[in-house]
């Protein structure tokens, strides 16, 4: 049977998925829902209610929402400009956009750390022109900057993808029927690009919510995101149970976001290149 042969072909992937996805996920749930004696408990999950953890979660949600919003407002006009370029121009610009993504994420973030330092490149430049220094390193602004910088391409590309799929004649039809450019944008272009927007929001919001590297490098040790809390439970406190419990909470937020995007993006149209 053709079907069984296809199943056979997919077996390497199934093995891979079991080892690297299913088993670790099972372990997270096992540790998250048990205590040190191995007895079932919801204590680790409920620990998110504690003042310290709740604060980290709210800051994480706030900063990742802000970053997602900033990304959206930067990315949409950019994607529109890209979508209106001819083929030769836009493939070059898209390349420029993807290029930094090939460089290591840690390196890029470390570069920002150096740039933003009190005596870093940016402040040296500012003082050279006798301008007041920019003191945003180790503040939430630096974290948002790092998130926006790192995740912007993930917002641009799905929106760009959705925009180039719109038949230019559909836009022309709206103008033909009397809509001015602003009406055309809000009634036609924007609604038709929603799948791309949702996909872009998911791809920025989730990594921003779970990051601990950006906050560590650009936020100093002053600002703890939920990612940092979890990381510390695993690497420093050695409390895998609490770390896993908080991870489950984070996973719930991710699932909510993905469920929302599945509703809007039924055809999977907004996927990345």
């Amino acid at each position: 049977m053709k079907n069984s042969r296809l199943k056979l072909l997919s077996s390497p992937y199934i093995v891979w998925a079991v080892i690297f996805i299913i088993v670790p996920l099972g372990m997270v749930f096992y540790y998250g829902l048990t205590d040190k004696t191995g007895a079932f408990t919801l204590e680790n999950v409920m620990a998110v209610m504690s003042e310290e953890h709740a604060k980290a979660l709210w800051i994480s949600l706030g900063l990742s929402l802000l970053s997602t919003a900033v990304c959206f407002f930067l990315a949409y006009p950019l994607a529109m400009i890209l979508a209106h370029m001819n083929v030769n121009q836009h493939s070059f610009i898209v390349l420029i956009f993807i290029l930094p993504m090939w460089m290591n994420f840690l390196l890029r973030t470390l570069a920002w750390q150096t740039l933003l330092e009190k005596t870093g490149a940016i402040n040296n430049l500012l003082s050279f022109f006798h301008l007041p220094p920019l003191n945003i390193i180790n503040t939430p602004y630096a974290i948002v900057l790092g998130m926006v910088y790192n995740f912007l391409p993930f917002m641009v590309l799905p929106i760009y993808n959705a925009l180039v799929k719109i038949d230019p004649n559909v836009v022309n039809a709206a103008k033909d029927l009397g809509a001015n450019p602003i009406q055309t944008f809000f009634k036609i272009t924007l609604p038709l690009s929603i799948p791309g927007i949702i996909s872009g929001i998911t791809m920025v919001f989730i990594p921003a919510l779970t990051t601990f590297v950006i906050s560590k490098l650009l936020g100093g040790s002053k600002i703890l995101l939920i990612g940092n809390v979890i990381e510390e439970e695993f690497t420093q406190a050695g409390n895998w149970h609490l770390g896993s419990g908080l991870s489950i909470v984070l996973m719930i937020f991710i699932l909510i976001n993905m469920a929302a995007s599945a509703i809007f993006d039924k055809d999977g149209e907004g996927g990345l290149l």
């Binding site: 038949d167 004649n169 559909v170 039809a173 033909d176 029927l177 009397g178 809509a179 009634k187 609604p191």
Partner: protein
């Protein structure tokens, strides 16, 4: 003829240095069904886009009802377009699609609802208000695209190969539908197509275009029966186009054989092109014909037989209800008024605009 509604004056347009339209002049009348006909790249779609406001001519002007609208944006023009592949708004239902133009103009709700009903009735799709465009067939989507355009009561409807994506049967039905619509609405239709049959069926006036030039303007009968040059003759229907010499008035030498014709005024011994439609070639017994030839191909086409007859080194295309088997010796006869004489292209430019074989 009704009064002139649109004048295209000396329109030129080039894309990337390539001339698409070259000093085109065209007058379009009220209540006319005018078809721009030609092969792809002839400039017909560009002409339509200039009329719709989606392209600006490099030179020349568009006069609409006496006013210059050359630089007016599409949303300010009193004409509506039915786009190739329909271009419906896929995120809106049929009623919202049709209401789009009216809502933009802030018409009252009762007026809009009446208009939607009226338009759907006109295109025979009553009760489709709540359907989504994706759930409709190609023919239905096309009707909605037309309904969406006509509710705005445009003076002119532009149609860009609207039937191109439909299958043959549906296309023929839609042709009659469009003629009916045009008569009921009493507005001007400007129709772009590369399909000569569509053009002949529906139009009051056909404008045959090639490489940015208008080749001929006329009624379907004129275009078919009296093509002005070899390009038009070749593009509209099947035809035999033969080099010939006009010996004197009413006498032409085709393939070194004298044929009587009805044309005058070409001068003596003037080289010309001759067009003879395949259905106008009569096959007879060899001794009764003006020319003798041999049947080389025979195909049954349903309505008629299609034959190729070699005579004096030329392959004659013949349509006839009578049949001669391959290899038969036949005579060829043509009635004088079925021989259409055309001037040879005067310059190389015109030659380039002619047929490429």
């Amino acid at each position: 003829m009704n009064k002139e509604l649109i004048n295209l004056v000396d329109i030129s347009k080039a894309f990337d240095g390539e001339t698409v339209l070259d000093e085109l002049n065209l007058n379009i009348h009220e209540n006319e069904f005018l078809t721009l006909l030609g092969p792809s790249g002839c400039g017909k779609t560009t002409t339509l886009r200039i009329l719709g406001g989606f392209a600006t001519p490099d030179k020349g002007s568009v006069i609409f009802d006496g006013k210059d609208i050359t630089n007016l944006p599409p949303n300010k023009r009193q004409l509506n377009t039915v786009f190739q592949k329909y271009a419906l708004f896929s995120h809106m239902n049929i009623a919202e699609n049709i209401a789009f133009g009216l809502k933009i103009k802030n018409k009252p709700k009762t007026y809009i609802d009446d208009k939607i009903k009226y338009a759907l009735k006109l295109v025979n799709l009553e009760g489709f208000e709540k359907r989504m465009p994706d759930s409709l067939s190609g023919g239905q989507q096309q009707r909605i695209a037309i309904a969406r355009a006509i509710v705005n009561e445009p003076k002119v409807l532009l149609l860009d190969e609207p039937l191109g994506a439909l299958d043959l049967k549906l296309r023929q039905d839609m042709q009659y539908e469009l003629i009916r619509l045009k008569n009921e609405l009493g507005i001007t239709f400007i129709y772009v197509t590369h399909d000569q049959e569509e053009a002949l069926t529906m139009s009051d006036t056909i404008v045959v275009m090639n490489q940015g030039y208008i080749q001929q303007i006329g009624t379907p009968e004129t275009i078919y029966n009296e093509p002005e040059n070899a390009f038009v003759a070749d593009f509209i229907g099947d035809s035999n186009i033969i080099d010939a010499i006009m010996l004197e008035d009413r006498l032409v030498s085709i393939l070194d054989t004298r044929f009587h014709c009805v044309d005058t005024g070409f001068g003596r011994n003037q080289p010309v092109d001759v067009v003879i439609r395949p259905e106008d070639v009569e096959l007879t017994a060899p001794e009764d014909g003006i020319l003798k030839g041999t049947v080389t191909h025979l195909i049954f086409k349903g309505v008629h037989y299609e034959m190729e007859v070699t005579a004096n080194g030329f392959e004659w295309l013949v349509h006839s209800t009578g049949m001669f088997p391959v290899g038969t010796e036949v005579g060829i006869k043509v009635d004088p008024f079925n021989i259409q004489i055309m001037n040879k292209p005067a310059s190389e430019d015109e030659e380039a605009a002619g047929i490429e074989e």
